[in-house]
Symmetry: C2
Subunit: 243 residues, 2 copies
Amino acid sequence: MAEPVIILVEPQLAENIGAAARAMLNCGLNSLRLVQPRPDWPSERARNTSAGAESVLDAAGVFRSIADATGDLQRVFAMSGRVRDLVKLVLTPPQAVAEIRAAIAGGERVGVLFGPERAGLLNDDVALVDAVIAVPLNPAFHSLNLAQAVLILAYEWLKADDRTPPLVLQTGDSAVAGKAHLMSFLTRLEAELDDCGFLRNADKRPGMVQNIRAMFGRAQLTDQEIRTLHGILTELVTKRLRE
Amino acid sequence: MAEPVIILVEPQLAENIGAAARAMLNCGLNSLRLVQPRPDWPSERARNTSAGAESVLDAAGVFRSIADATGDLQRVFAMSGRVRDLVKLVLTPPQAVAEIRAAIAGGERVGVLFGPERAGLLNDDVALVDAVIAVPLNPAFHSLNLAQAVLILAYEWLKADDRTPPLVLQTGDSAVAGKAHLMSFLTRLEAELDDCGFLRNADKRPGMVQNIRAMFGRAQLTDQEIRTLHGILTELVTKRLRE
């Protein structure tokens, strides 16, 4: 699928351009444009902070104006934290990404403007965009670093790709044990606990057994882990018999 | 509501500590702990890159070990991009935030570990955590900057707070116009277009009118904007009549 173009308007710091490129590539975005970057360009500092995302920097287009940088785009958004006296649709990042994906699916070329570090985008810059993207942040401290703003958009872009894996227990080579395997361990454990007297109070026994089962049952133990527990139990019992 | 503690383990660069503090405060998080920070501490560089989030840095606790930094916490997560040979539940950031919010609602104290910039967390560091948090990123370029990793967690924390405003058109003092107001403008526009001959092709007229209506209808025009359009139309017609 085509992707949105990230457009940095008059970025002041090479570090931020590099960090933005890194964040983009982290999230699978490759297309960067710079409008009148303040640092000398290309920039060695930007390369360093990109931490390996040179492909993004090397391919970045440099433009003289927002108009030049957006001329071939059909849909343009502006990421901005400031409330403006303009009539604009204001979208959260996930809402914006839904719009961007729909536009791209419809064959449009899409870009997102990010303003300079201190001043942000001017009203003139924003007047022609289709919508403003605003991140709902701490109202008392809402100024995002430029590369952080790029990351939030890129991260939402990636999230909306539906490749987010489902909730998963990472278990390596061993699979989560079937309940029968778990139960055979618990039965043995309870027998041992009966044997050693831990469960001797008949009134309390049912509740205690439940609690033990719940504890081990919650852990999503793998076959290997249950084998390990069997081993531990064997060793503990053997040690008691030896004493 | 209480909040999770962000724990940076052996952070190497003061800039990243400052940027992490900024990202935290952007998202309403205040509680930072540092385990054996490499830069001299407190750090002027960290202050500078925090861009005003000194409150987070000033209150940050410094600890000698992960054990010390997590001793008072009931639930600890580790943000990590590396696949490990440990049996751990792996959560995406939104999944983790749901767990964190549930734990905090249940009265638990929660922390999230972030490893050093280059090496990340060691298996030893992660062995005792309740779950690993992994961001599904570009598999070919998945190493996140430390402060960016903190931002993603903090951003998801904030998002889950349900204060995200609904889709909203920011209209300033003027409200989106009622359909009647819009229709009166369109009717007038169409009359003018009939008058000037633009709609003279009777076969094509219905389709052309539909397209015009769709175009203006889609724009969510405000009352003020419709008054402006009326004014524009008046001026255009008057100019034509003058010529």
